[in-house]
Amino acid sequence: MNTLICAGGSGVRVLEAVLQLCAAGLGPASLRLLVIDPDSANGNGARVTTLVESYLEGHRRFAGRLGDGLHFFRTELDLLDVGGRAAGLKTWSPVEKGQKLREVLNVDLLDSTSTPPDLIRLFFTTEELKMDLTQGFRGHPSVGAAAMSLVTLKTGDQPWRQLIEKVRGDLARDEGARVFLAGSVFGGTGAATFYPIARFLRSVPEVNPDRLKIAAGALSPYFRFEAAAAGVDSAVSRQAAKAERFPLATRSAVDFYEHLRVNAVEGSWPFNAFYWMGDDAPLSVPYAPGGPDQKNPSHFVELLTALAALDFFETPGAVQGSVYSGSNGTGEDEASLEWRDLPLVRPDREGVRVGLLRFFLAGAVHLGFTGPLVRLPDIERSPYRVPWYWERFASKGDRLSTEESQASLDFLDRFFRDHHFPWWSDLHGHNAVRLFNRAALNGGKDIRLDRLANLLWPDRAGESDPDAIDAFYTEMMNVPRKQGGAGGAAAYLALLAHAADRFIDNRYTKTGSKE
């Protein structure tokens, strides 16, 4: 069983990328999720919580119902739900709301022990000890690590109790347990999480410790902001994460992990693999100290980390030690990220590209054409006018106008319009990203159907093919009848996917637009 633990704002956005890949059918069969973030109210978290709920609905509606070879929404999520508690994505925080570091570490109790009270000042400044941790560790990994190391005291509490039980259950099976930790090394929470949590996880196995594989996806600085320029008051500004310190924090983290790895004694290096991700041209984002305003756009570095996680889950032994990935610096004018730069261990790189394009195409055609088509009253009056609808649905007594099917169609609308395309659009806000065609993305709400044959970078400027949708519609008729889902909206989505495959074969592969 696979477990993904995401720490901090960057970790949460990696989770977003993982869920988008899982929706496109690239995820594992099952995935256990846990988020570690003291600032559970941050805007990124709220966005991902909505995405998780949406994904779960997609899984409920489509998983296992699309027929052979199609895995959209296949990944079953284990959110560590416990009876009697609220269901949904669990966000664990090592600190309680409003707590300060001195309270977390019980500094005031040092007076009653033999430990000199001033000892704590060797490690933390007065400001750090008084810092309100409700909105995270604000770029202070030393504060975060101190709080995070107390996880060993929380093993009896949820969600850790359940996670520990499940990991132990996984270790009893040959498949074992794979845990991927994702987060940044330049901020507060992520940087503070890797080592304490990995070390803690290493203490979990009672039997078969070798079956526990742990990897980390460490994100080096890929965005920047200026707190002072944002007009934040100086007291908050002093405690806030500072983008100019990111490189230094990253350097410290790298040195720290290198030191740990090189000087490891038996079992003290808890990681089987360490994936480093980054970008040499950090994206400028608006500053927010935390809370709902901290809502950074998605970034390709998160996609790279998500792919690393999925790679690790599929072949945990393929990467040993540390690997790194980032944008490719060989572009003519700037560093860039193209399909061939995606850091995949698995051999079917083309499968990933086609898988993502297939889901993208299916969504684009659903939103822009077939979704409105199957909702027209005409289709119930004259179903034969749309041959695939007649052959696959109406002639068999199946209808897409039933309440259940309409709900599934509405879900597809919401998923693509509110989550999937805006996510890709965010990713392509960065000029260096050369995966999909930015011109076709059209701001991320609806995809331009006249660019259906040019959804991949590069944009063939000036090209507009209004008949591309006609070609796709024709492919829907050419899909063999044995290919299809279990009726209703699942059969509809399966048909779109198979037609997308044929369209890709004719318009992308045969025409040679592979890159």
């Binding site: 027209l376 005409d378 041959p387 006609d470 519609y473 024709t474």
Partner: protein, 151 residues
């Protein structure tokens, strides 16, 4: 009404007509009729195939729009007119003094020619490959009549 004689009868409509002349006339008209039907049907099918392939679906409402290529079936009237006119001209030429007029025969030749052309063209539209897959059921009105009755 006695004058409305079908042209395909083996005996001449007017007993005073030469049997040989009538047989030759009948063969000639039949040749024109078959020719006009075949040419007409080929023309209709060709135009239908060309236009139905040119027709594209670009908006969700397009599949429900009037299926314009079916209008070429109206061209079935052409072979009918050709057969009728040929009949009338040749009848007047071959039997200038016939007591029975050419109207009945010309009309029946025209109607038969038009209907045959229509039937051949319509059936051809149902053959695989003639109608593009995306409009496969658009020309199948008889099926739809039955389907409507069933429902």
């Amino acid at each position: 009404m006695k004058e409305l004689q079908a042209f395909w009868v083996s005996r001449p409509p007017d007993p005073t007509m030469s049997f040989d002349l009538w047989r030759g006339f009948r063969t000639e008209v039949f040749g024109w009729l078959v020719g006009s039907v075949l040419v007409g049907a080929a023309l209709i099918i060709g135009l239908y195939m060309w236009q139905s392939r040119k027709l594209t679906v670009r908006s969700p409402r397009d599949p429900f729009a009037r299926f314009v290529p079916m209008r070429w079936l109206w061209l079935s009237a052409l072979p009918g007119i050709v057969a009728g006119v040929i009949y009338a001209i040749r009848y007047a030429t071959v039997f200038p003094s016939a007591a029975i007029g050419s109207m009945g025969g010309a009309l029946s030749a025209g109607v038969i020619s038009a209907l045959t052309t229509f039937a051949i063209s319509q059936i051809a539209m149902w053959l695989p490959g003639v109608t593009p897959r995306k409009f496969l059921y658009h020309p199948r009105w008889p099926w739809r009549l039955f389907a409507r009755r069933r429902t």
